[in-house]
């Protein structure tokens, strides 16, 4: 028996009115032909919606990340369209998976090769705390070697959770002061990790 086949001969016209996400305008002074706001807000807005992630995937969380990047969950909706596989050009280091102690210097090297400003997202229990691998060979959380901005819990976290983590990173990027990376406080923070 042939299967009933339905062709899409009467396609519904997409309702794009009011359905396209547009970034909110920052607060400022507006008049006819001009708009004035602070540079910090504009830079924050631009950075927030064009984050280039650098995936550092070592195990099952990496598989969840691949689903997050795929068409179904689609991280590209949030401006993170382009995965960069070179640390020099990326803004966000996404560490997904168990980091063995032998891998730790490699991860640290990748972090050091990234240019400021840089953010770090630890995805999953292993990257955040070592997870179930409470053992002599596994790093007990990547925050032992590099500073982490957002932790995503889960073993492994669902793609929604990873998206939530990326959105949290976006909030940080959006609200970060332009002076933060030059501040004494930030230098001291890096100093606690032995990074000059």
């Amino acid at each position: 028996m042939p299967r009933p086949v339905r062709f899409n001969i009467h396609p519904k016209q997409a309702d794009i009115h009011d359905n396209i996400a547009i970034a909110d305008m920052p607060a400022g002074l507006q008049g006819e032909g001009y708009f004035a706001t602070s540079l910090e807000k504009v830079v924050g807005l631009a950075r927030k919606n064009s984050i280039w992630p650098l995936p550092f995937a070592t195990s099952c969380c990496g598989i969840e990340f691949m689903a997050t990047m795929g068409s179904h969950y689609d991280l590209a909706r949030f401006g993170s369209e382009r995965m960069g596989f070179t640390p020099r050009q990326c803004d966000l280091l996404m560490v997904m998976g168990t980091i063995a102690k032998k891998m730790a210097p490699v991860l640290r090297q990748v972090y050091l090769q990234m240019a400021e400003p840089r953010w770090v997202l630890a995805v999953g229990a292993c990257a955040s705390s070592g997870g179930i691998f409470d053992t002599y060979s596994v790093l007990q959380g990547i925050d032992q070697i590099i500073p982490v901005d957002v932790y995503v819990p889960g073993c492994p976290p669902r793609p929604e959770a990873i998206l939530d983590g990326v959105i949290k990173i976006q909030e940080l990027v959006h609200n970060e002061s332009l002076r933060r990376r030059n501040s004494e406080h930030y230098k001291n923070l890096l100093g606690t990790y032995g990074i000059q």
Binding site: K101, D134, Y136, Q140
Partner: protein, 172 residues
């Protein structure tokens, strides 16, 4: 004739006599023990003999028995006769205070990395090994993690409640 366990045992005892001890056959696999001074001689015999022909070293590892004074570390060799598809197990015991065992690298090339791994985890010093250094763990590690006196968990961790994770107390 087929290579039976009885035949292997007979040939070994003809050649080495009283040195072959601890003969058993768990799950049908012929297992025996020799003094650690004779591990190479016995393996050379098993390798070269036409009828025995154990020319492949499948596995090499160690076991730590902390309650057996003088024979704490067992080095276990798994040998394979590929033609007859027969496997045997050879054990040598050594004291943990003097963990020196002769290397099998001259006889079996595959022993090279497996002896490095055994050194890495148990600290067995394979005398004559061409490159005896850590292979899997970080080079900075200053102990042998599979020995029983070292707990499995990372001891540098301070953010976990020890009572909830079986640390600090006794296992039983």
């Amino acid at each position: 004739m087929a290579l039976t366990n009885e035949y292997i045992q007979q040939r070994l005892q003809e050649k080495f006599g009283e040195l072959v001890t601890g003969v058993e056959q768990p799950y049908g696999m012929f297992t025996f023990e020799v003094p650690k001074s004779h591990n190479l001689k016995v393996m050379q015999f098993l390798h070269d003999d036409e009828a025995l022909g154990f020319r492949f070293l499948t596995d090499l590892t160690a076991v730590h028995y902390p309650d057996a004074p003088g024979r704490e570390l067992a080095v276990v060799y798994h040998l394979h006769n590929l033609a007859e598809n027969v496997r045997i197990r050879l054990k040598v015991f050594t004291a943990v205070t003097e963990p020196d065992v002769y290397t099998a690298t001259a006889l079996y090339q595959s022993a090279n990395w497996m002896e490095r791994e055994t050194y890495d985890f148990y600290g067995v010093n394979f005398v004559g090994h061409p490159n005896l250094k850590r292979i899997l763990n970080v080079d900075e590690m200053d102990y042998f993690p599979m020995r029983k006196e070292f707990p499995l968990e990372d001891q540098t961790r301070i953010d976990k409640d020890d009572d909830m994770f079986g640390r600090g107390g006794h296992i039983n």
